[in-house]
Amino acid sequence: MNDAGSRDQALSLLTAAINHADLAVKLSSLKQAKDILSSLDSSSAADLFPYVVDLQRSPHTLVRKFLLEIIGDIALKTIEHSAVLVPVLVAFLRDVDSDVVKQAIVTGTHFFCSVLDEMTLQFQQHGKVDQWLQELWMWLVRFKEGVFSIALQPGPIGIKFLALKFVETYVLLFTSDNVYSEKLEATRGSRRTFNISWLSGGHPILDPVALTSDANRTLFVLLDMLQSASCLPGAVTITIVNCLAAIARKRPLHYGTVLSVLLDFNPNFEMVRECHKASIQYSLRTAFLGFLRCTYPTIVESRERLLRALRAMNAGDAADQVIRQVEKMIKNSERERASREIQPVWDDQVSSQAYVLGDLSKKRSMPQDNEELTNSFEMASKRIRSGPNSYTTPLTQINDSGQDFSSVTGSSSNFPLSDDNLTPVEQMIAMIGALLAEGERGAESLEILISKIHPDLLADIVITNMRHLPKSPPPLSMVGTLPTTQLAINVNSRAQVVPPSAPTTSIFETRPKKGSHLFLSSYDPRRLDPRRAAISVGMQSSPVLEDTGTGMSEFDGSNFNKPLSVPVIENPLVRSMPNIQSNDKIIEGPSITGVEQPAPEGDVVGGEEDIAPILEVKSSSNHEVGPYIVDADSTELKADAEVKHETDESSFPESDQTFPASITVLSLDDTGRDLPVLPLYVELTEEQKRSVRKSTVQQITESYLHLHWSDCNEMRMALLARLVGQIDADDDIVVMLGKQIVVDYRHQKGHEIVLQVLYHLYSLTVRSSVDHASCSTVLYEKFLLEVSKSLLDTLPASDKSFSRLLGEVPFLPDSALKLLDDLCSSDAFDVTGKEIRDAERVTQGLGVVWSLILGRPNNRQACLGIALKCAVHSQDDIRGKAIRLVANKLYQLNYISGEIEQFATNMLLSAVDQCAAAAELLQCGSVDERFEMEVGSGNASTSGSQLSEPSASGVDSSNTESTSNSASVVSFPEAQRLISLFFALCTKKPGLLQLLFDIYGRAPKIVKQAFHRHIPIVIRALGQSYPQLLRIISDPPQGSENLLTLVLQILTQETTPPPDLVATVKHLYETKLKDAAILIPMLSSLSKNEVLPIFPRLVDLPLEKFQLALAHILQGSAHTGPALTPAEVLVAIHDIVPEKGGPPLKKITDACSACFEQRTVFTQQVLAKALNQLVDQVPLPLLFMRTVIQAIDAFPTLVDFVMEILSKLVSKQIWRMPKLWVGFLKCVIQTQPHSFPVLLQLPPPQLQNTLNKYGSLRSSLASYASQPNIKGSLPRSTLATLGLENESHMQLQQQPHMSNLHSSDTSVRGATPTMRTHIPSSCERGPVRYLRLAWKTVP
């Protein structure tokens, strides 16, 4: 089909699609048309575009949607002809159907990127851009605006998502990115991603500066949307957060801005509409975790802040995990990157310096400038700007602060009010006063100044200023006449009310600005924390910088349209522009060059002129940045200040009920108007003062709670902290405050508030005079205890808040440690007297102890004392937990392991040497204590005194205490209590085992039992071939044999002992310890040749040990098989000759019997085999006949085999061996009538002898022999002995049964008294049994 043909076909299909009534037909025609269109060459396809566009008026959603797909498909291929198609995209943005709108955005976004690429490409290749492309771009700009308005205006949320996504894409496209581009390119696959840096060299249409500024503005639109999230649906808020996070991750340039907004973002706003709060909160968490995954320097530097934020969301674990992952990743690539690493970091610093405009360089030359400082405003304002600007370079900032300091002091000599003796706060107040004195001219500077002051400092100023209130009622007068110091607070609000009209002199602005930085580093009470000492200054700077950052935007907002507002240059546009430059050195945009080269010596006028044009560009963006921050912060601040001001001055003696009204009514405007007139001053009684004070604090806290604590910015926290500092120590306000904070501790920033208060109180104790310090100390302790207790009462044991609190407070008083001690080990009772301690609380307490030991060196001893005390606690579960903590965690810390070991050893020894302990107890005479122990009320009475000197006596005193315990109650549990810890330590340090073996011998029986209970755990934990253990085994101390045997048993249980163990034990047996019992566990690994020499010794052991040994021998090892077969065992037993100093005969017979008891092992076949071997021995073993009798008794079916043996014995002339002959006869008697043939084989004298001995045998034997077939084979002499020559057999045959039975009975009971000593009683009934069986088998 040629092109024209297919074109016609496509045309007809399109017409059908437009005109046909049936939707299905429309769609199928469209589908075919689409296929044809995409196969056509671009120009012929373009001819058809007008028809395609006609489809946009179709009433069918599906058709319109399909149209968009066609556009997406075709327009991208034939981009030069698509000018007709793009307007459709723009039009569809207002379509009624949201699916169509979505599709339009998707298609448009792709198109947008393609056109951008194309434009760049054309320019790069040909140096110009085609007209059609310019037209397209115009449409796409309209498209962009359409999408932006969708994002901003209310509408279906599904569309909004895509619009926001487009916004994100837009910001990414036009934000320079030299760090990250490789990665993005990799992910985007084949398509190269447009980068703003390509637009170098003056692109005719695309102005990088304008685009970048637009992108920045767009970002601020997004940030702004987030600020007003309270009226957005939750899903939109989440999408915005996600988009912002994506931008921050992909464009480090924006990271700082986005991060600070996200950190400040508080999803707990009063809900205007239903939205899923948890998910919004979680989206922040996801964003922060995502940031943690990034590795470029800007983000890594903010890691601490992220961690803090994440911990506050209870996501500390997840954060730690991510950090571990990242660190692993970094480590992996570290080596290869090591050389390259330095370069980028350096580059980054350079670029960030560059992108704070010339300011930074100017600032850096400041010290030199000082001499010629002309107090010119321009200079000063530039210096103000430098602060927030440098937030990306905290290190240089810190360095600079030193220089700034010199500059401040240098210029302060010009300042009439400054006084070297004043504290920084007082200096500030003085300065504010001076500004006020200038009247309205100073107002603006004052406002700037206050917006720059760190919350901590500002709070101090407020409080200090309140202190300066006159004791006597001030005269009612106008503002102007008031002493300036008193007015400092009001000024803030006044600054808002009074519009500034005149430029001010600059020095004031400069100094406070720098001053605030300076004070900060010296002021943050947290600095006093000893733990922070090691932390680098860099970390401290982060909150500072953050604050100035916000301060800056406030500043911008309130000033941006005033004549002296050069600082406005500080807006994002300008910030990023130089960055582009520094990133891409080739570009030299004409508008920027001027900015980039301000003369270091302060070519002020020129610089300002250069900046001015740019100012216009971004002035619009100011709307987004400024106002809301200003409003929120400053009104809060003023309100707070007013409340306090009001209450302190207030002369209402009324009670709480009437009081609130007066405060809440005071709105900003009111105060602004009313302040100049002070209310009446009324003298209050002490009582009234107190109640007013109390109600005030209550008011404040309650109103704070109402606002949600998390709204608290640092300012408010700082103020609250100072307020608490003013409270008398005996007031119970702290208690109330503590409780109130805890009520909503987790969701709100309870922890931060409490810490702020505590740090402030602590700083008071450190700084102030002895008098005041003690008051603060009491207050501190009271507040801490109250919060701790409330935390324990209200939050579940799994909550980490308590631990975190104790870990981070500046100082732990004894009472806090006592609380911890109670939590861990003592029984605590609640108000109703019910015991409230539960296992989880103990775990919690121990967890806290652990973290304190790790994190608080000063309290380490005391905490260790608590842990160790619990490790010997009388309750098993507490002890178990504590021991796990001590052994697994604490014992690993080398700075306390020695102490732990010593303690455990003392406990062990105290258990073993009870007498000594008892003596000690007598000395102590602590009867009461003992009584308490017995009653079971725990250690409550002792803990107080111990903890008064926590660092020194913690361990020792609990030591003595426990020793006394051991003496008072001597029992198995008590022994266990004392020794468990030591055993637990043994698993960690096998060397300690030696001590166990050393003292085992002298331990009392109960303690030994406890040893036996514990040792298996230790040994199993250590494994078999521990060198220390082997050394002990090779040379066990006196008296430890039992323990040694036990250990060996455990070592060999269920496994084959390793060769070195076997060798050690054998050596021990051969040299030192002759007790064969220790060899028993090893027997299974010994060979036959090794076992046989020691076999007699094994037999000599007590019976149960022999049985054990037997089991081991027969069991053997998996590799070698049993050392001896059962038959060999029997032979070995018989080989023992009792006379030669070996075991007595009794032992041997016992051993034999032990074998016979194991009928499953020593089977019929085994016995047969053994007897066969034995019968051939010369001489016959002494016990041979006894064994034969036992064998036949155990297995009657062996009878035929035994008869063979007996015949052999006859042939060996058994009667010549008197001891065996007796047994032989006994056996023959027992086995008649089967033994008759054997009897008849005996020579007549012996037969005669036998018949004489057992008379009853004669008749039955005779009757047997008289059977014709037998009779014939017998020699005459035998027959003669039997007297059978003439007898008839008839009558004998009639009653064989009776006579046999009878005879056998008598043989057992009467005729064999001699045998009874040899045959065990169990054999006595044997013959009877045998005979019954025999009769059944005999035919």
């Binding site: 599904g158 996504k165 992910t187 985007r188 996600n242 997840a318």
Partner: protein
């Protein structure tokens, strides 16, 4: 059924498969995945899990475990679970490798960690389709009983999502309502393909 669903847990064995099975029976277009590095099944002790690669057929695991200790794995429900799984699909699939499976409209995760991983993975993907995806986390303990409960809850939620005209407009309401009804905490986020 308007949407494509994905059920994700860590090993694509218990929770996600339970839900997959149930939703499949109800006629949903559903797939399931795991986010772990390996598929882990309980072994004779806590320290000796049975570890398989993703993509190992359920049948193979079934045979393997039946050979190792039929009694144990029958008793702890692993064999019955695998049997159920092999009737649903061939082998466990890994979420991070599912780019070829196209986009999903709704993704359910059953554990916060998995939720995080899915979101992080989506973030790292090349989001060119501009197709929004709703990721919901429903915390479900990894045992058979809870998985069954969790699957029913997931089904309930899916039905509610299907019932509304656009989930984008009502996701907050649906989730809050669900939380109140079942006393279960949910989390959701929105990402893009």
């Amino acid at each position: 059924m308007k949407f494509r669903y994905a059920m994700v847990c860590s090993s694509n064995q218990n929770r996600s498969m339970e839900a997959h099975c149930l939703l499949k029976k109800q006629g949903f277009d559903v797939s399931s995945y795991g986010t772990g590095t390996h598929v882990k099944l309980p072994g004779p002790s806590l320290r000796e899990p049975n570890v398989y690669e993703f993509g190992t057929p359920y049948k193979h695991m079934f045979d393997d475990l039946r050979r190792k200790d039929p009694e144990l794995y029958k008793r702890n429900g692993i064999l019955p679970m695998l049997k159920r799984n092999l009737s649903v699909k061939l082998a466990p699939q890994r979420w991070q490798d599912n780019a070829a499976d196209g986009y999903f409209d709704i993704v359910f995760t059953f554990e916060e960690k998995v939720f995080d991983m899915v979101l992080e993975d989506l973030h790292n993907r090349d989001q060119v389709l501009l197709k929004s995806v709703l990721v919901i986390n429903l915390e479900v303990k990894d045992n058979h009983e809870e998985a069954a409960v969790g699957a029913r809850l997931a089904l309930d939620l899916c039905e509610q999502i299907e019932a509304v005209e656009s989930w984008e407009d009502s996701v907050d309401d649906i989730l809050i309502c669900f939380e109140n009804k079942h006393r279960r905490k949910l989390l959701y986020s929105i990402s893009f393909y």
